[in-house]
Symmetry: C2
Subunit: 99 residues, 2 copies
DNA sequence: ATTTCTGTTCGTAAAGATACGAACAATATT
DNA sequence: AATATTGTTCGTATCTTTACGAACAGAAAT
């Protein structure tokens, strides 16, 4: 495992990872809503968005795995919030990227 | 064709489109280089990047179709440049998005 | 005219993304 | 205990992305 050849810098990988998470309009919509009010329930988003519930779960998972949001179960509902640390990291990277 | 139901706003679609283009580290690397020196030949990038020539062409096409770069043939070479108008559009959208 | 240089496009394979409904799990309510 | 509510996960189908080498195309030089 020390024989891993890095093809890209950590920064390039990070920018790509965050950008990828923003690469679908429904995920942009989710994040816009979430950044506006910081937190939101799955159900409230499902009412507004033009996708099936299961598809929404998948997109939320993508955002979670990219580190941009975090979810917590607040039975029987699930509440999703912006992960502020990574959100700010992404913000800084993107601003730096565009100069 | 008037019966098109819009699922997302133009802004959401645009952010997703630009983000998608940034969604692969090699494309991030290309744009970093290009934004640093404004223009660059295909061949010079090919020397540095860890991908085949044909793959590079594909990635450049993705960036072109997203509007972030433009290419012009300067025989026998091909020169690629940042599309400044769209670059600034993307910059503005991303900054607005992250607040 | 043929060869060289540069880059694109084609063909193709493997992997990932997106979508949905059905089935499942966990908690709360009856 | 049975039911209802809320989301997640599973199974599946379809499409897209990424990658490569081979074949191709255009201009320049021999």
């Amino acid at each position: 495992m020390p024989t891993e050849i890095k093809k890209y810098t950590d920064k390039q990988e990070l920018i790509a990872k965050f950008s990828n998470a923003l690469g679908h309009p429904v995920r942009v919509a989710i994040l816009q809503q979430l950044s506006k009010q910081s937190c939101c329930f799955h159900g409230d988003m499902a009412e507004v968005l033009p996708i099936a519930n299961s598809t929404l779960s998948q997109h939320l998972k993508v955002l979670r795995e990219a580190g941009l949001i975090q979810g917590e179960i607040d039975p029987p509902k699930t509440k999703y919030c912006i992960n502020k640390e990574n959100w700010n990291l992404a913000k800084g990277l993107m601003i730096g990227f565009f100069d």
